[in-house]
Each structure stands twice: as structure tokens, then as C-alpha cells.
Assembly symmetry: C2
Amino acid sequence: KIDFKRFRETMEASSEIGRVKDTGLYRLALSDKDKEMRDLFRKWMEEAGLEVRIDDVGTMYGRRAGKEDLPPVLIGSHLDTQPYGGRYDGVIGVLMALEAIRTMNDYNIETRRPIEIVNFTNEEGARFEPPMMASGLLAGEFTKEFVHSRKDAEGLEFGEELGRIGYRGTEENRIKDIHSFVEVHIEQGPRLEKEGRDIGIVRGIQGVSWFEVTVQGKSNHAGSTPMHLRKDPMMAAARLISDLEELALEESVLMTIGKISASPGAVNVIPETVNFSIDVRSEDDEERNGFIRLLEERVGAIASLKNVDIDVDHTWTSPVTHFNSDVLEVISSKSESLGYSTLDIVSGAGHDARYINDIAPTAMIFAPSVGGISHDIAELTLDAYLEKCGTLLFEVVRELADR
Amino acid sequence: KIDFKRFRETMEASSEIGRVKDTGLYRLALSDKDKEMRDLFRKWMEEAGLEVRIDDVGTMYGRRAGKEDLPPVLIGSHLDTQPYGGRYDGVIGVLMALEAIRTMNDYNIETRRPIEIVNFTNEEGARFEPPMMASGLLAGEFTKEFVHSRKDAEGLEFGEELGRIGYRGTEENRIKDIHSFVEVHIEQGPRLEKEGRDIGIVRGIQGVSWFEVTVQGKSNHAGSTPMHLRKDPMMAAARLISDLEELALEESVLMTIGKISASPGAVNVIPETVNFSIDVRSEDDEERNGFIRLLEERVGAIASLKNVDIDVDHTWTSPVTHFNSDVLEVISSKSESLGYSTLDIVSGAGHDARYINDIAPTAMIFAPSVGGISHDIAELTLDAYLEKCGTLLFEVVRELADR
Ligand SMILES: NC(=O)NCCC(=O)O
Ligand SMILES: NC(=O)NCCC(=O)O
């Protein structure tokens, strides 16, 4: 039913904006490339006859009226990417939502409820931490002031960058009553491919904790300071990271150190401080919290062993999410009638659906990721699966919008 | 004999240029602050009646004529600093040389040989690696093209920055025949203070090796990639650094990791690459080379254990240096006649004297560092020691210049 060729062309246009090598994207939130993508997406929405709104954190909505003025069905995802991310992460959820609308227009389908498509600002959290701030704002998890005051690595503020690219809308444009929300996304993991299934029916999302660790030692000369007189924050950090990896393996949580830096940062200077991030995830909140307790113990042990100060700042937490069973049921039954093979899955990655789930019935649909690769330019989802996902979304949204 | 008050005032003027907090300096080579310091130093040299020359890598010389046109005695050090370095490192060697000239002028002392004072460009190697490039050029260790093409962390080129600050002189201005070179410097280590001596008589300099390590893994999503399917360069780097620390302690070499970074550098992305530096030093070249062999073995072991590629680039080596016994003898006997307590010492830090020693009889004099701290804003040398060092330099240069 959907026009897959049209969807593919729309994907190609997106894949050129911020392109890296043949297959990657570098389209950080509120960058010039993000603006270029937003302008194009707005044009597409207008061409599809949607009424466009921008809210106070830059989230873009396009509304297709229903026969009745009821709370709308919301579909969509995000158009920002990681530095050196792929073309599919987030993007397919937004452009399949657009394709669903276009298909409805093709067939003059009217629905009982309005349908809104959405592009959430800064889902990735790559430029402004934490991730999913725009959906978190809607759910009351973050305040507008908090979001606007976030700074990127260069010290540029979210609020100012939003104004600079011309996407500072109004608080009244935020979506309020949502009938239901469906987000299509790539799996970003290896399970669907390994099990050879078409579609992932996403039951929930892992819990996550983020930390910023500061190891404070004493900077001094690399050539003239005896090893035993050093307070070397780098040696403490290396040992701590190694120990935490072992702990994470024992405790079956996922742990990632994605950022690290040493200051002042010269070859012949023992650093004064080393900073790094920790991302911890688990499908079980008890397990994640248990790991965090062990982490804190280990930090204390390494600090005294290595004679340094270690400060651990807990910057973000998101407990395990369970999606809505009614929406999941619609996805299951539509998959079945379309003859698609499915797998129940728990998402490893966070998504805007995580926060919208707090304020409206929500669920997600996953497409398989080749080799499970994501947050990398090698990210890929095959056309056959994209087409199935798009068709399924179309059927699901039709069903929900007539409820 | 020297005018310590005048020396102190000269130090204070230097300490204002690039000042950080109360006691630090941030005066990277060829920065605007370095230019400001150079302009002032040039003015001081001209006021002292010296003939100023700038060579093709920006090294500044000030010549005081001798009764005969013989190869000159060279004295001096460097005026650039580390990021967040101290006020004494390098600076005292240059400004005591200036003070020695001023004192000779006060007393109308004529010497047989000319005396030249020198400010070597980029001794620290903090902005442009490796350190001591300007003296290395004189010794034939580096070519002019090599030096000019070095880039800082922002990609700015040495040669262009030299032109920008107006200190690109000529090759013919390089000093050629040197009778002898004496460099005064702070110890940058704890030994003189611990043993309660006035003066360090520097017999030589440790050998040094620098490495740039690149650990190449596979970037992927922090939330959806199982731990055992990762090729995580950060976990490999942490383990390698921890292991190397243990090895360094066993092998009695000094090892420092001063710089580290992860790319792409987002909290929720397993890095694709981790880069770090290694600085290895020893008073024994055999020991240093033995450690390097063990390091290479360990790199191989961790690469296969952690399923990553590790590339180790050996960027700079400087073997152990032995200074000239005649110049050392002059320093010893002058110390003795002045009644100063001395300690024979091997320098942990590299100095321009290391390269000049390859082309002329060379030695160094150290002043004690409080707490052994250097390459940090807390660096300090007490006035009582500075005065002794200055007086000793004056006596030594007088003696050498009449030989
Ligand atoms: N889907 C996705 O990559 N979201 C970013 C938030 C996270 O780190 O899970
Ligand atoms: N003196 C000094 O800090 N020199 C820098 C070169 C080195 O790293 O030893």
C-alpha cells in the first residue's frame, strides 16, 4: 500500500544532509545541518497538507485533521544523529510517519482522530546531554529552563542554538493530549537479524544510568617525579575502568566509557585531572542499582589505593520502561495479518517513546539492523525490512486513528 | 655581585605575561603571550647593549662582544611554558643570563670571548611536539622543514605561527661555533630540597622515548551491543595502561600518560578509536629499551585479548646525555669557592642543553624546586636559591669567557 519508491527517495534526500563518506551522517542537534534537514522536512509536511507547529524546544509537529476533534495519534521519531552516526537511526521513524500520511492522502483516507507526525529535538544527546530531552519535557521529566540551559562541548547553549537556527517555537505548540504514540526505529542490536525475524515488537526499554567521573590528582613533571611520589589520576582512571569492566561482566550489565580526557593534556605532564563518562544499562533495575553500589565501592577503593580524589556525578537515570499492552496488541495483530514474522524484544537504546509512555499509551516497532551496528556510519537496514515496517506502521496508525 | 633586586623585578615582569591565578603561567610557544614576552626580552637585551639576532626557527640571541672575535660562551634557556606551568621553568635560565650581562655592564667587565644569551623557541613541546626542537635544529637532529611543518592540536603550523608573531628570522643568524654552553634551570624534582643542598650540578639527562598509541575498535551503540560482541578500544586502552604501569614499576622506569581521547566521544557510543601518549624515561638506556620491548609484547597480548588493533608510533627518542667534564669542573670549583653546598644530579627533564651538548662543551646548574613540583602553577623556587644560582652563573660565565 505505501509507496516505497517515494519513501526511498525521501530517505536519499535526508541521507545527503550531513553526509559522511558513503553511508554515514553527522547531523548533530541544532547544527546547520539539522536546520537544513528541518527546513526540508517542514516543506514536505506542508506539501502533504499538514498543519505545522514548532514547540518551545524545537520539536516539530505536522497535523492531519480527523473527522472528530479528538486527541491525536502521534507517530514519528527524530532527525538528529550522532557524530558519525548512520542514516536510519531515528530518521526512518520520522520519514515512515510522513509516508503513512502521504499514503492516506493518495487514497483520500479519512480517520476519526487527527494524526500528528513528530520530529523530536535532540533525541541522541550527542551534542546536548542527556538524550531525549524534548520528549522528557513533554512528560514533565525536565523543565524548559533545564533544556534551554544545556551546553554543548564548546559551551554553546541549547536555547541560543535553537534561536540561531530559527526553531524556537512556543510552549502552547507542545502536543498535550495524545491518544497513543507509535515509534518506528531500527533495532540497533543484533537479535532480529540473528533470529531471522522481520519485525521487533518492542515490549519495553532497558534502564539507564549516566555518570560523569572526575579523578583529581596532582599534575607534575613526567621526567622528574618518581613514580611512588605521584598522584596520577590517569593510572587511577585506567585501573578503575578495567575493574569496572570486570564487574560489569560479572553482574551482566552493559557498561560503556564513551568519553575521556586528561587535563592539562601534554605528553610530558602527569595530568591534574582525568574526566570520563559511564553509561550503565540493564533490563532489570535491581541489577543496575546493584552494579551502581559496587561501582561506588570500587571508586572508594581505587581512590585510596591510588591516592587521588574521585568524584562521581550521577547525571541521568531512566528506569526500565514497559510499553502499553493495547498498542502492542494492535502491532501484533497487524503483523500477523500481514504475515510478518516477529520477535518480542526489549530495547537496549533509549527512545522518545520512553518518556511519551509516561503520558500516553505507547509502543515501538523495530526493523532489523545489519550486523547489529548503530551509532556508526556502517549502520544499515535492508529495503525489504524497511518496506515491511512502513506498511505495518501505516496499518497500525489507521487502526488506532479510527478507535 | 649580581643585582638580585633587579633580577626579581625582571622575573615579576615576566610573571605577568600569560599569568594564571597567582603563581602560574600559560605562555605556549609562538602564542600571542610568547610574542609579548619576546618583545619585552628583545627590549631588555637592546637596553643592555646586546646585538640581537633571530634565527629561522625564532630562537633569540643577544651578543656581547669580547676582546677577541672567538667562539662565544652561550648562556640561557627558554621563555615558553606548559599550559598551566610555573614562572620559573626555563625563565630563570634566560633572565639570569640577562642579569649576568647587566652585572658585567655595571662593573665594565670585559671578557676575552664574546658572550651570547639565548631564548630557545618551543623548549616545552607542549604546543608543538617534540620538545627542544630549536636546539635540536642547531645540533642537526631536526631539519628546518621538519620544525616548520609541526602542527599544534588545532592544526596551526609552526612556520606560520612564527611568521604571524613576527619572529621568523634567518638561517645565517643561527649560532655556529660555540665555545661552551651553560644552562641554569629549576630541578623540577624533589632531590635537592630533600637533601638540603643549594645547587645541583647536572651530570647528565635521562633518556626519553615518546609514543603515540592508537587503539582501533568498532564503534557501536552503548545500549544494544552485548559486551561479548564488542570491540571496545577503551577497555583495551584501560587494561593496557594499567598493565604498563605495573611493568614500569617493576622495571624502574618512569612512565606517564599525559594525553588521552576517545572518538567519536559520546556517552552512549562505544568508541571507534582511543588515542593516548606514552612518555618513558630512564637514566639507563638499556633499561628504557628493555621496557620498550616489554611494552611492545604487552601491546600484542592486549590486542589479541581484546580483539582490537593497536598501533604504536615511536615519535621521539633522546638517549641518555653526559655533560662535559671541563664545564662541570668550572661549576664545581666556583660553587666551592662561593661556599655553596652541591649535589651531583641527573636531570629527569630534557633541556636544550641536551642537544647543544652534541655540538659544544655543555653543562647545567639546577636550583631546588619546592616540593619537587613543576609543570604546574604551584611551581616555586625560593629567592635565596635563585640568588645563589645567579651569582654562580655569573662567576662561571666570567671564567669560561676568559678561557
Ligand atoms: N536510540 C538511541 O540511540 N537513543 C539515544 C539514547 C540512548 O543512549 O539510548
Ligand atoms: N625542562 C622541561 O620541562 N623540558 C621539557 C622536555 C621534557 O619533557 O623533558
